[in-house]
Amino acid sequence: MSRFWALLKVLLINYLGVSTSQIKAKKNRIKYVKKIALGIAVVGALAPTIYLYAWLLIRGFDLLAPIGQERAILTLGLVMVSSIIFFFGVFYIINFFYFASDAQNLLALPLRAWEVLGARFAVILGYEYLTELPFLLPPLLIYGVKSGAPFVYWIYALIGYLLAPLLPLGLAAIPTVVIMRFANLSRRKDLFRILGSLVVISLAVAYQFVFQKAGPNAMDPAFIQNLLSDRNGLMNIISRVFPSTRYLGLALANADGLIGLLQLLQFAGLSFLAVALAWLVGEKLYFQGLVGSSETTARRKALKSSDYQRMSKGTSPLLSYLFKEVRLLLRTPPYFINCVLTNLLVPVLLVVPFLIQSSNQEGIMPWESLVANPKGQIILMTAITGLVMFLAGSNAISATSLSREGKEFFISKYIPLSYSKQILAKLLSAYIFGVLGAVLLILAARILIPLTISTILLLLLVSMLAMAPVIEAGLLIDIIRPKQEWGNEQQAVKQNLNVVFSMLFAVLLGGAILYTVIRFIHSPIMAVGFMLLCFALAALVLYYFLMTWGIKQYEMLEG
């Protein structure tokens, strides 16, 4: 077996837990059954969202078919999946290429850079095939069935499905490998790797917006005329965000002719070109970015007595434990990127596209009119609160607080600090970053929408209470099933289903309360009162649950 395949096999077993010999062993079967059941449960929980997406696609197809633009739904799915893979690919690649400790250990083996990079790239590709499922499968199926596509279409669809992540992943890998090469030059490696990641993520965001902005004004009548007269008009517009997707969209739409085959080959060529380029850049730069990246600088200088005095003032055990949590979150690159940065990035990501759009077009944004009437105000407030809750559920701070401790969890078990205080400190650390995210989000909303000071204050109040049950539920989930068996830090936060569960909880709780508000309450003050009451109740119930049952579970956990 070549070294590349040997490495790939080991990585697949290690990261995806896929091993035929392990499945054959009887004692492992229950573990796999549990894994599969968990997967089905997650899909089941996502089912309503997928159903809604499929429904929208079917409606879209029916609406677009009379004007001959139905093939645009294919491009929509492709563009969406490519953008998601590209954006999250940047995170995956930073984590998986550079922050995984086993990547460092591979440096000691007689492997070429492209072999290591290629094998790790392939593992990420495995994850991306799963990511693709909910986004790409529905449009492929719906278009195929509804348009009565020929048999070749289904073959092309399968090939397209397999090819689709290659280009965005390749595009994500190239700048990451280049920037990380230079981030590794610095003596303060942790800091520079975080900064390097920030640069790559900013580039990814900028790329998307540049393509979004480029192109004609959608309100121009001549443009619309032109759009409708061309069967691929809408497809071309949508694919502007990710131009390569146009070829696959066309290949699928023209599957019955030779032209479709050529377009598929074009898409395949582009995809493989991107991967080849990424591997080529990797061969030149990857190891240079990785070598010594775990080194840390040490001053090896004695502290002055004033330093000792300043640093050894002493604080309460609870606060000390909280500071420890915050320091580790800020200083550990995978935790910073996946937990802290998401909090700060989402508000920015939400504002920038609208700012660009509003600078592109004259006139007011649709929601600006909402501020004027009470119902509109309620909708705005619930929408912002919902976002704050989603952010708190998805930032992975509380839902991975025990998981992140990993092998060090034994320390929490032997120190004389009660489990209730440890739980409280973990809640507080998540709360601090949650509040930071909420404040930024509300500020971002203020940039787009002329909110009054009193609305902003009310929003702050509601948000701070709304995130509490989400954070508590996240911690509870992590106490029930902490993922402490990991080889490197990124696995604790990136490949942790607890984050998905916490996100789902946020969606369900937020969805139920906010839906009730929008549906049944007509005065903004009443809405605020109802939300405060509901979230406070949920927070209290969960807090009580954490401090009784949660502590018992914590006691049962072993380090």
Binding site: D190, S294, E295, T296, T297, A298, R299, R300, K301, A302, L303, D307, Y308, Q309, M311, S312, K313, G314, T315, S316, P317, L319, S320, Y321, F323, K324, R327, L328, R331, T332, K407, E408, F410, I411, K413, Y414, I415, P416, L417, S418, E555, M556, E558, G559
Partner: protein, 242 residues
């Protein structure tokens, strides 16, 4: 004083018995060595004494405080050095020590002189401002030892404490263990190196496959080993490990 009464722990739903009905009594004023080959159950027992693992059966008292019924009281009684010193890699040494001092509620008047004394003794004063991840294995071991001793605990529990220490630090630690025991305190430590145990222990216990097969002084063990085939074999194995 540590009282361990009929403690058992098994894994895999009772199929693997890691510790099997162990009873030990470690008196004040003695250094007690806990000896056994790799995988004998040493670390499992130590983890149960310190509250990291829950015993399936039996009870453990540290200076009269039960680790299950009064965990915080019991935990305040001891300082613990784990077998793996890889802790909080991204905190600086001084941050770690202050964290431990805060948790054990060491007042700022006491902690500063104590910290400086231990740092100087272990030659760590020049490195304490750096992140722990920049330390060598031995330096990590030293900072963990200092962190465990900051609150001057009456009971010391050390799991393979000499591993990774340079000869000078190892000598210093042994000397401190002696001083601590001579002051009427308890030192409990595990090792798989017979030589270390022989030199500093007042009494020791040998554990194999989860069971304590002998407990007594070194002389008693030697005498007993001549009569008991399995103890003699184990003894030989331990000697070969040196």
């Amino acid at each position: 004083m540590i009282e361990i009464t009929s403690v058992s722990k098994s894994y895999n739903r009772g199929t693997v018995k890691a510790v099997d009905g162990v009873s030990l009594s470690i008196q004040d004023g003695e250094i007690f060595g806990f000896l056994g080959p790799n995988g004998a159950g040493k670390t499992t027992l130590i983890k149960m004494i310190t509250g990291i693992l829950n015993a399936d059966e039996g009870s453990i008292n540290i200076n009269g405080k039960d680790i299950r019924r009064d965990p915080l009281g019991a935990k305040m009684q001891f300082g613990f050095v784990p077998d793996d010193p890889n802790i909080f890699a991204r905190l600086t040494g001084i941050e770690y020590l202050n964290f431990m001092a805060d948790i054990y509620q060491v007042s700022s008047e006491i902690r500063l002189p104590r910290m400086q004394e231990l740092l100087n003794r272990y030659e760590m004063a020049n490195t304490v401002g750096d992140q722990i991840q920049s330390y060598s294995h031995g330096m990590k071991q030293k900072i963990v030892v200092i962190g465990a001793l900051l609150h001057n605990p009456p009971v010391w529990i050390l799991d393979e404490p000499m591993t990774g220490l340079d000869p000078r630090s190892s000598f210093d630690l042994k000397e401190m263990m002696r001083e601590h025991a001579d002051a009427g305190n308890t030192v409990f430590f595990s090792t798989h190196v017979l030589d270390v145990a022989e030199k500093i222990c007042d009494r020791l216990a040998i554990i194999n496959k989860g069971k304590v097969i002998f407990c007594g002084s070194m002389e008693e063990i030697r005498a007993h080993a001549k009569e008991n085939q399995s103890l003699e074999n184990l003894f030989l194995e331990l000697t070969e490990n040196e």
